[in-house]
């Protein structure tokens, strides 16, 4: 039953060939993205590995500049120059996106993998109506049959009332929450299999945030959408993403099943993030901000990048700190991983 459902939802052209069972939809290995700067090259994503399967949600957590957005812009082939990918593999449905010609990559964008952005007001073109921006996405992928009807249905799906009439509205005529949902509707217009949602709810209030996240959950369950939820909000990830990946200074420092990572972090940075979160059930718990600052990405050494802010740092931390598999799907870069949570 499930198998026929999948097939039905995937009537989509050249990539509609049988996949290996259990092969992740997106698999990134050793991604290295570099921005040359006046002070030397900045490795914004340094040896990033990740996997996302259909219907799965991966939470990607880290502060600004940790490389989480750069990693996924690299995946989508949308790095702004002078940034460029220097190494690694980006396998989408078994094909290495780095080897694809520009034209084919463009055909995948929107159709197979899509991007939702933080601020819909700036992501939507102010000079075109919502309908135009929806329909051109359909047109770009040869799906423009009954475009207006489809467009209205897409807006309805994301919960915009009297959608058909609102197609001719400009983005500024929408309220903030509706605009965010309209943008997500545009991202999802061509029914992509992977959605990279870069802080999709940061600009929204609590109610709207829940609505948008519910919508994404629903798409994941019903359509098998794979979701990469980029955020600095661990609470959102804990609630919505079964798996989490924590990034710091361009590297993945910890990854694993969210439920376990949140309860028993295996990297001091993750623990720091958790300790700096307020908790509803214990409002009097003191919050502990992480002391110090992110290191200068142009002046890194081979050692652990978090050690200057880490209370557990030892001499060996100045040496190499590879991401080590800890079993049970967990991995950490900390040499003292098992000691992080007693």
């Amino acid at each position: 039953m499930r198998a026929t459902d999948d097939r039905g939802a995937e009537g989509r052209g050249e990539l509609n060939r049988p996949r290996q069972p259990n092969a992740p939809l997106l698999r990134v290995r050793g991604l290295r993205t570099v921005f040359p700067t006046r002070r030397g090259p900045v490795v914004a994503a340094d040896g990033v590995d990740l996997e996302i399967a259909a219907g799965e949600a991966l939470g990607v957590v880290g502060e600004s500049g940790s490389g989480k957005s750069v990693t996924f812009l690299s995946v989508l082939g949308l790095l702004r120059p002078p940034g460029r990918i220097e190494g690694g593999e980006i396998l989408f449905d078994g094909r290495d996106l780095r080897r694809l010609p520009m034209r084919e990559l463009r055909a995948l964008r929107g159709r197979q993998m899509a991007l939702a952005m933080q601020d819909a007001l700036s992501a939507l073109n102010p000079a075109f109506t919502i309908g135009q921006q929806l329909i051109e996405t359909l047109e770009a992928h040869g799906l423009a049959k009954d475009a207006r009807v489809q467009a209205a249905a897409l807006l309805t799906r994301v919960g915009i009332p009297s959608a058909a009439e609102r197609l001719d509205d400009y983005p500024h005529q929408f309220s903030g929450g509706m605009r965010q949902r309209a943008m997500i509707a545009i991202s999802l217009a061509a029914r992509p299999r992977l959605l990279v949602a870069d802080e999709p709810t940061t600009a929204l209030d609590v109610t709207l945030r829940a609505q948008v996240l519910d919508l994404l959950d629903e798409l994941r369950e019903q359509d098998g959408l794979a979701l990469a939820l980029i955020t600095h909000d661990l609470a959102v990830v804990a609630e919505r993403c079964p798996r989490v990946m924590v990034m710091y200074a361009g590297q993945v420092v910890e990854s694993g099943p969210t439920a376990e990572v949140v309860v028993r972090p295996r990297h001091p940075y993750t623990r720091g993030l958790l300790e700096s979160l307020p908790r509803l059930e214990d409002p009097d718990r003191p919050l502990h901000p992480i002391p110090g600052q992110v290191p200068d990405l142009a002046r890194l050494d081979a050692g652990c990048r978090f050690r200057n802010r880490c209370s557990m740092a030892v001499a060996a931390c100045a040496g190499p700190t590879p991401l080590v598999d800890l079993g049970d799907g967990r991995a950490s870069r900390c040499l003292r991983a098992v000691e992080v949570t007693p």
């Binding site: 964008r109 102010p126 109506t129 996405t137």
Partner: protein, 335 residues
Amino acid sequence: MTLSRLLERLLHTLPVLFGVSLIVFLMITLTPGDPVEIMLADSRATPEQAAQLRADLGLDRPLAQRFLVFLGNAVTGDFGISFFHRRPVWDVIAERLPATIELTLVAILLAIAVAIPLGVVAAVKRDSAIDRALTALSLFGVSLPGFWFGILLILLFAVQWSVFPVGGRTDFDLEVARVTGFLLLDSLLAGRPDAFLAGLRHLALPAITLGLPTAALLARVVRSAMAEVLTSDYVLFAEAKGLSRRRVLLRHALKNALIPVVTVAAIETGSLLGGNMIVETVFGWPGLGRLVVESIFARNYPLVQAAVLLYAVTYVMLNFTADLLYTALNPKVRL
């Protein structure tokens, strides 16, 4: 934009126009030099005859009264008699105006046609050798004085290589019946392709001279507007939707980048209309610019006043048009 809003905007231009006419009136009247003396310079007129002429021209009346008369007449389209031509000022201007408008329009269209592709290329290939070359070139274009560049073009293309004529609006032996006053239009109406081509050849050098600084300026405006738009989230989002590069650049980016360009182009058109005295003089172009230069030297007050007022009205109206275009391009300011 609603009609009432449109009318309101139009009404806002009235104080500006009143101010301009007052300044124009005062400036020319307070400049030393007596038109009557200049007009009678070569004749043996008696002081009585001079006084008579002064009274005929209304120059003996108080300043305020003369201004009110001027303003009242101006509103009804009567700018008086050109001292020099002894014909209604408006007739003289109307005769010369089409030549100037034709030259200006060709110059501005040429400038836009050159500036948009160059600006877009420079912005897309930002910080490349092409971009730097175009930036240097546009600095060069903005700084070239028109009289020098015009003469240089004449020396090269007219004197040295005889590709284009030295000056004037058309060849002496090619007369076309005047219908609209726009030579290109009239020769088409008369079914005279030879006259049309001659008109174009005569337009080439003055239009290039007049349009060059504008092209350079517009190219820089296009480049900076486009460069800014290209870093915007909506361009990234448009690319993420899988749109073609061409569509992203020419539709999503350019439409927004053109918003500031339209305003600058409209204002530049106003400047060119009122600022082509030098080019018209260098190329012997029988337009309003040259007429105004001649009239200033002759202290032909009514004509200078009418012309400057015309410049001001045109400028204000072009700004108004720029606002309208801005509205059409940018839904956010739609009222």
